[in-house]
């Protein structure tokens, strides 16, 4: 919003408004902290200090936590790898008008796909072959008309639940095949959740699988999983250990990574199959992800603060010096949110500050500047808290550290009357005012 390179013209004083800081509060869900940092080659990054201050709408509520993604699935998926011909079963546990069985042949060659489909037969538990089309020669009255390939999409409405047989012939067996059973009304549910959206080398993570039928835990099942790297290549197999109450856990994910591991989003694929207490067999597949990065920097300190005033004594800005310890030259971005408690007793965002610059190996200082004029626009006064302090590598594109509750730095007793008016009102801010967001 306000992008500047700070000069030293502002009068730096602290009069009625005070600053204080104390040891960082307890971690919040979504927090991120490197245990160690690693040396790495310099990352190609644009140089130049950029300092941005952006007003936030005090109508929003600030919550110092990040909800972790949860994946919930009801569909059955069977992966049949290329290999020998054979018969496979996939359980269908709920049938409705929106239930279909899909055959996905892993090829982008239309002729190859059609030949493979000709070589696959889907049979219901009642022995009915389901994927044959009506003979064309009967439809068109031409005995020489070519046969249509079998259907890749099989409607299941009106068909029985139970184990369906997928017969794969020698032509189809040359290719990987995915069988997907869409059954949105199934009450057998698999939930998958990773313990973090960001795994830093040197830290650990886990993933939980929860299986329920009709809302009740499924006590026994076969749960397996593996990791896929950011390029979707299969890597390490994972062991899921029963935790009781329908929960299985893969622990020690951090041990799977080293400095040579590819940065980016890794995928955790999970397959589960078994039988419910009522005797219904099931099969489920789900995937979730987490970003992996090698931490090359950390926040060493964020306790030095300043209050900037103009010549008339009005506050023009609140600043926090963030000391960054770097072991790789990179463009590092530090951001944080200034918040205050409203009359409703809830915490509201006021101003977000973000500053980025290249930090060479060693120690660097990145100063966050919160424009006091933008804080004035929010109409909130009292203690201003520094929240959601984050260190982010713009070279890698990954967070290195995050403290959602902040470093426990606050500017106490701020009065609106002491704040200077904003020096700049770009279109975005004017629009926020006009929309009643400020």
């Amino acid at each position: 919003m306000k992008t500047t390179v700070r000069l030293s013209l502002s009068v730096v004083v602290a009069l009625l408004v005070g600053c204080n800081s104390s040891p960082a509060p307890a971690p919040s869900p979504g927090d991120l902290a490197p245990r160690v940092t690693y040396q790495a080659p310099a990352r190609a990054a644009q140089r130049g200090l950029v300092q941005v201050s952006t007003p936030q709408s005090p109508k929003e509520i600030f919550t110092p936590r990040v909800d972790l993604p949860v994946v919930t699935v009801h569909d059955a998926v069977l992966q049949i790898p290329a290999g020998a011909p054979g018969a496979y079963t996939v359980p269908v546990d709920a049938v409705s008008p929106d239930s279909f069985l899909y055959l996905v042949v892993h090829s982008n060659d239309k002729a190859v796909v059609q030949a493979a489909l000709q070589d696959i037969t889907v049979t219901s538990p009642a022995g009915e072959v389901l994927n044959r089309r009506a003979p064309v020669k009967l439809l068109v009255g031409d005995p020489n008309a070519p046969e249509q390939p079998p259907m890749p999409t099989v409607p299941l409405e009106g068909k029985p639940t139970g184990d369906y047989t997928i017969q794969v012939g020698p032509t189809a067996a040359k290719l990987d095949l995915t069988v997907k059973v869409q059954q949105p009304l199934s009450d057998i549910e698999l939930r998958l959740q990773a313990s973090t959206p960001e795994l830093l080398l040197g830290t650990d993570g886990s993933a939980d699988v929860t299986l329920t039928a009709g809302g009740k835990p499924i006590p026994a099942a076969h749960v397996v999983g593996h990791l896929m790297d950011p390029q979707m290549r299969r890597t390490l197999d994972l062991t899921f250990t029963p935790q009781g109450n329908g929960v299985w856990r893969a622990s020690g994910l951090g041990a799977s990574f080293d400095q040579a591991s590819a940065p980016g989003v890794w995928h955790l694929f999970v397959e589960a199959d078994g039988t419910t207490a009522s005797g219904q067999s099931f099969r489920r597949f789900a995937s979730t992800g987490f970003d992996f990065a090698v931490p090359t920097a950390r926040i060493a300190d964020a306790s030095t603060t300043r209050i900037l005033r103009d010549a008339s004594g009005k506050i023009t800005g609140f600043e926090v010096d963030v000391t960054v310890e770097s072991r790789a030259s990179d463009r590092y971005e530090v951001s944080a949110m200034l918040t205050a408690t409203g009359a409703d007793g809830k915490e509201h965002p006021l101003v977000r500050a973000q500053t980025a610059d290249v930090v060479a190996p060693g120690t660097g200082k990145i100063t966050l500047h919160f424009d006091a004029g933008y804080a004035q626009l929010t109409g909130l006064e009292g203690d201003y808290l520094v929240r959601d302090l984050m260190l982010y590598s713009q070279g890698v594109g990954a967070p290195m550290q995050r403290m959602l509750a902040g470093p426990n730095v606050r500017f106490t007793g701020v009065r609106l009357a002491d704040l200077a008016a904003p020096a700049h009102l770009p279109p975005r801010v004017l629009e926020m005012q006009r929309r009643g967001l400020l």
């Binding site: 919003m1 909800d67 279909f100 892993h106 890749p152 869409q182 949105p184 770009p426 279109p427 629009e431």
Partner: protein, 452 residues
């Protein structure tokens, strides 16, 4: 327009300190396409959007059709958002445009979300992201992929869904699934980016870092052979997208054939949720979606123009056509806004107070234009009861009905002063306002000259 009468009314010039925005200039629209490596504006216009769709959605404002390697680069990568910043900043600088509405389709919202979350980023050509994001007054995400699509999950795992619907592969950049932008649109990837600080905007929010965000959502696909809706944008594409809707979400599910509603409605304020708007059709302005986008573009850019117009935030006396002045000019009586008067919405008295002060009697212009006498075509006798015509915008006359309607009198996107700028002592303005025509005994639209 026909000028009924002229009179010399001397307007006082008040030299007062007027708070002004730190910027002023024109308004425009930036279009950002989804997955696909587009190499020029014409490539993006012709092979992703369509020129007619762009024209419809731009609402008459100047526009930029951005292009970038939107398949080979994931949205968070500099090679994706960098060209968008470079093109936008260059366009703004060369045209004087300072306020922009961003319109995206599909994955196109995600490079913008990255920029809003990381305004300190710098493009390869040295442009700072905040130069663009500061100018953003809103974003409209058409069929926005905020949370990923199960089709990306499928193709990046199996390498194909060729036998389900090959016709839709173009939405993954032309057929090669092994590209960063497709992997990035996996649902597990997007869940990560949405929670680890990569992309701005949280679930259910109406703004992204304060920027109002709107959505246009296809909730279903019409593939009925006998439906005109199904043919807009190409019938075979509609059939293919209905098949992928069934495959990805279920045939009765809320999805446009490529993006599920859980993704397209992940955040933002919905403007249109349409069961006959496939993923292909929404980028082609089908089924009224182009008009929906144009409406929100107009709403924001007119307001931005009013806020930035040099004739805004002026004291009445320093306005080009001081509407506080009351008096006869020949047979024409200008009502004005005498001291102590106020607009009475019930009787219509002292409507010039609205012009003079922007708000009076609880009515505010231009928001309440429709309820003011300026919107009544019956008050435009000598104009053939035509009402306040948009053809009068920026024509050299300061039409106070345009001030009531838009807050200023200038052409959309124009960077020059509007007609209602007071250029200071020694200058004059031609002004037009609703006035009483004593000759024929009706309210009319008359003209006068304001000398400064």
């Amino acid at each position: 327009m026909l000028r009924k009468a002229c009179a010399a009314i001397v307007c006082a010039v008040a030299l007062v300190a007027i708070p002004r925005p730190a910027w002023a200039g024109g308004q425009g629209v930036v279009f950002v396409h989804g997955t696909g490596d587009l190499s020029s504006a014409s490539d993006a216009t012709n092979n992703y959007w369509s020129s007619s769709a762009i024209d419809t959605m731009a609402g008459g404002y100047p526009y930029l059709v951005a292009y970038y390697p939107g398949a080979s680069c994931a949205a968070y990568q500099q090679c994706a958002w960098g060209p968008i910043v470079d093109q936008t900043v260059s366009w703004m600088q060369s045209t004087g445009i300072s306020s922009i509405v961003v319109v995206t389709h599909s994955n196109g919202n995600n490079p913008i979300r990255y920029l809003l979350q990381h305004p300190s980023s710098i493009s390869a050509n040295g442009n700072v992201a905040s130069t663009m994001t500061d100018a953003m007054v809103s974003m409209t995400a058409i069929a926005g992929d905020f949370a990923g699509t199960p089709l990306a999950d499928q193709v990046t795992t199996s390498g194909s869904f060729l036998n389900i619907a090959n016709s839709v592969v173009q939405f993954f950049g032309g057929g090669s699934y092994d590209v960063p932008a497709v992997v990035a649109q996996r649902q597990d990837n997007m869940a990560t980016y949405n929670s680890n600080g990569t992309f701005g905007g949280s679930a259910g929010a109406s703004t992204i870092d304060g920027v109002p965000t709107y959505t246009v959502v296809g909730t279903g696909v019409d593939a009925n052979l006998f439906s005109g809706d199904a043919w807009c944008g190409g019938y075979l594409m509609s059939v293919g997208l209905e098949m992928t809707r069934c495959f990805g979400w279920g045939c009765g599910a809320c999805a446009d054939g490529f993006i599920g509603c859980n993704s397209s409605e992940y955040l933002g304020t919905n403007l249109q949720a349409d069961g006959h708007l496939s993923h292909n059709q929404s980028r082609r302005a089908c089924h009224g979606s182009g008009g929906t986008v144009a409406n929100i573009v107009n709403q924001y850019l007119q307001q931005a123009a009013a806020a930035s117009a040099p004739d805004s935030a002026e004291s009445p006396a320093s306005q080009a056509c001081d509407a506080t002045v009351q008096g006869w000019s020949g047979d024409i009586w200008f009502q004005g806004c005498p001291s102590g008067a106020s607009y009475d919405p019930g009787s219509g008295n002292y409507f010039d107070c609205l012009i003079a002060y922007g708000t009076s009697g609880g009515t505010t212009i231009p928001d309440s234009y429709a309820s003011t006498p300026y919107s009544n075509s019956g008050n435009y006798y000598s104009q053939g009861y035509s009402g306040c015509s948009d053809s009068w915008r920026g024509n050299g006359y300061c039409d106070l009905c345009q001030v009531a309607k838009y807050g200023f009198d200038g052409l959309p996107g124009s960077t020059v002063d509007s007609d209602c700028v007071n250029d200071g002592p020694g200058t004059s303005n031609y002004c037009s306002d609703i006035a009483w025509n004593g000759d024929v005994g009706v309210w009319d639209y008359g003209a006068y000259v304001a000398n400064h």
